[in-house]
């Protein structure tokens, strides 16, 4: 059956873009090495061969120019998908993103539309050090006007990408390198899933309960969803049933699924590969404290990168990234 066909996340993303380019001639792709190379992380593989250099455009290393150009092209009715390789590189063009792409709709009183999808790679775990391993999605979720998508599986990646392309607002789409299913980088096998061949959408703002459970709620996204699921498997052997929630989108955020889960399990652990302070874990903790404090049987716990740049050396990097073992140990301590 078609739905049993399994894809890597990279192939699922490329297929989503392909199907939308076929459906809508206003959709085009630009970025560094998105053409013949097919994207450094494979998100545009096969598109250049099919659509050519006019619709799959390799750009110079000029992020301010080509991301600003995406904004300008979107204002004219085009629907650009623009890739900026690593999220770590966004500093060079932040003005065009957080001052223009994110704000122009509001400043125009809702009259001007910017249907841009901005894609980039996140995450560490392969010793690429501090300038190539960050997540940073919370920075963009913090600025009003950008939708923020962070998938963890191939199925989600395709549906969320099609939703992103059809959205009339700017969408930032983050894919984790360790989930793309690349031949040259170890990836979590659970990110490879059955993916329907036909186009489908996944609405933004709907978290996915990746594993139901009654004893503790673990909220996460991207690679940490899989680490949480690995931990939940271990905990189940000890009779602890963890509910693992994959947020899938940070903006809009599905508060309801999180709050309802905590009301059921009475315990909350938030796991993030982004920095600890002022980030996603604090946001989720605050929401639960505001809306479900009376339901908690244990203090809210957070696991995230402990406010240091991602280190290079393998034991150092493994120490700062939340592991399945640390997640399991934290849950055990919450059950006491």
């Amino acid at each position: 059956m078609a739905t049993e066909r399994e894809l890597t996340m990279a192939k699922a993303i490329a297929e989503a873009i392909d199907q939308e380019m076929e459906r809508d001639e206003r959709v085009f792709v630009m970025g560094e090495d998105v053409g013949i190379y097919g994207g450094i992380f494979g998100a545009t593989q096969g598109l250049y061969e099919k659509y050519g250099g006019e619709r799959v455009m390799d750009t110079p290393i000029s992020e301010t120019a080509f991301i600003g150009a995406a904004t300008g092209a979107a204002a004219e009715g085009m629907r650009p998908i623009v890739e900026l390789m690593f999220v770590d590189f966004f500093g060079v063009c932040m003005d065009q993103i957080y001052n223009h792409l994110a704000k122009n709709t509001y400043m125009s009183g809702g009259h001007a539309h910017y249907p841009v999808v901005l894609t980039t790679a996140i995450g560490g775990g392969y010793n690429d050090a501090a300038q190539h391993s960050q997540c940073l999605y919370s920075i963009f979720a913090h600025v009003p006007g950008l939708k923020v998508v962070v998938p963890s599986t191939a199925y989600d990646a395709k549906g969320l990408m099609i939703s992103a392309i059809r959205d009339d607002n700017p969408v930032m789409y983050f894919f984790h390198k360790g989930l793309m299913g690349l031949g040259w980088m170890k990836y979590h096998p659970r990110s490879v899933t059955p993916v329907p061949e036909e186009p489908y959408t996944i609405p933004f703002g709907q978290a996915d309960i990746k594993r139901p459970g009654n004893d503790v709620t673990i909220v996460s996204l991207a690679m940490m969803v899989h680490r949480a699921l690995d931990a939940a498997d271990e905990l189940a052997k000890e009779g602890i049933e963890a509910e693992v929630i994959d947020l899938r989108t940070l903006v809009p955020l599905d508060k309801e699924t999180v709050v309802n889960s905590v009301k059921k399990t009475h315990r909350l652990l938030v796991v993030d590969e982004d920095y600890h302070s002022f980030g996603m874990t604090g946001e989720i903790a605050a929401i639960v404290a505001e809306e479900a404090l009376d339901y908690l049987d244990a203090p809210i716990r957070r696991l995230a990168v402990p406010d240091v740049p991602i280190p290079y050396s393998r034991p150092l990097e493994q120490f700062v990234l939340p592991s399945a073992e640390r997640i399991a140990a934290t849950v055990r301590s919450m059950m006491e």
Partner: protein
């Protein structure tokens, strides 16, 4: 130059519309701000950057543009907006923060958006170049002969965005014009203190595109040079860089003490006012009578007065509407 009498008078009238608009705005801006200047008080709060003296660049350029052509302006945007044809009432109302404004009062003086007239601007120096490239790219992709114009001050030509955009536009042969208004001052820093060459249009050579300098703050001189660049762009021959020497009669912002500016500079500039010179030129060449010039000037004043009255009497937005329009 094939300009009819009607077109010349229209240019003259438009320059006066801009000048009256800026003068009315200068006066309205100071209401409630004296004797002690408080930037947040009065009917027009926030910063205010006026373009009196810089009318030739906007009018000389936009005479060549159609509604379908895109203009991206700067933090000093009123003259571009008016020349591009934005409705004066909506423009004034936006600057007064009223619900009837272009962006329902959410953008204000530095952030004017008019989808219908394809106009936008930005409060960030140098930020106009990339989106203009994008508009030009879209026109090319859609097979239209539309052009895009990015305006910027001479200080913005030192921004990375300028150089990236020129390279991209040249590489992709985009129908875009980069037009630099050289008013000699980047706030208080003189051009020679920030740019090693006297003429930014020379920088075009680095990207293999035409670069032209217009040395006079003259609307017809701008019209002529821009005309060639627009035609070139419409023919699919790619971008151009144009720098125009112009004069900022007021401070960088209203309330700017201008301690950096030589005391006699403004007096000299006013003696060489580009609108008065243009009017005299039309008289000398027999293209218009004094009566016709006066009528154009009065009509411009009436338009501006009506726009300010509309802005003043328009209601403020409901406070809770602040929560709307983040997404469409």
């Amino acid at each position: 130059m094939n300009l009819s009498k009607d077109q010349l008078l229209a240019m003259y009238r438009q320059m006066w519309t801009i000048r009256h608009f800026e003068d009315e705005m200068a006066a309205a801006y100071m209401e409630g701000k004296t004797p002690a200047f408080d930037i947040g008080s009065g009917p027009v709060p926030g910063e205010m950057h006026l373009a009196a003296g810089q009318e030739p660049v906007a009018v000389g350029t936009c005479m060549h543009l159609r509604k379908e052509d895109t203009v991206v302006g700067t933090h000093r945007p009123h003259h571009f907006a008016i020349a591009k044809g934005i409705e004066l009432n909506k423009l004034a109302a936006e600057i007064f923060g009223k619900v009837t404004g272009l962006g329902k009062g959410k953008g204000g003086h530095m952030h004017l958006f008019d989808v219908e007239h394809k106009f936008s601007c930005s409060g960030i120096v140098g930020a106009s170049f990339p989106p203009a490239c994008g508009a030009a790219l879209a026109a090319k992709k859609m097979g239209k002969d539309w052009v895009a114009v990015a305006f910027a001050g001479e200080g913005a030509a030192n921004q990375g965005a300028f150089h990236e955009a020129l390279n991209l536009a040249a590489l992709w042969k985009l129908p875009v014009l980069f037009i630099i208004e050289d008013n000699s001052w980047a706030i208080s820093v003189a051009k020679h203190q920030s740019t090693a060459i006297p003429d930014n249009s020379q920088r075009a050579a680095g990207y293999g595109i035409p670069g032209v300098r217009v040395d006079e703050n003259d609307v017809l001189a701008v019209y002529e040079v821009v005309g060639e660049a627009v035609q070139r762009a419409r023919r699919g021959e790619g971008p151009s860089l144009i720098e125009v020497k112009t004069d900022r009669l007021y401070g960088h912002f209203q309330g700017d003490p201008e301690v950096y500016r030589p005391k006699d500079e403004v007096a000299k500039l006013k003696a060489n006012d580009p609108i008065l010179r243009f009017g005299n030129q039309l008289l000398e060449q027999g293209m218009a009578t004094q009566q016709e010039l006066d009528a154009a000037r009065d009509a411009a004043k009436a338009d501006v007065d009506a726009a300010f009255a509309y802005a003043r009497q328009s209601p403020y937005p409901a406070p809770e509407s602040a929560l709307e329009d983040v997404f469409v």
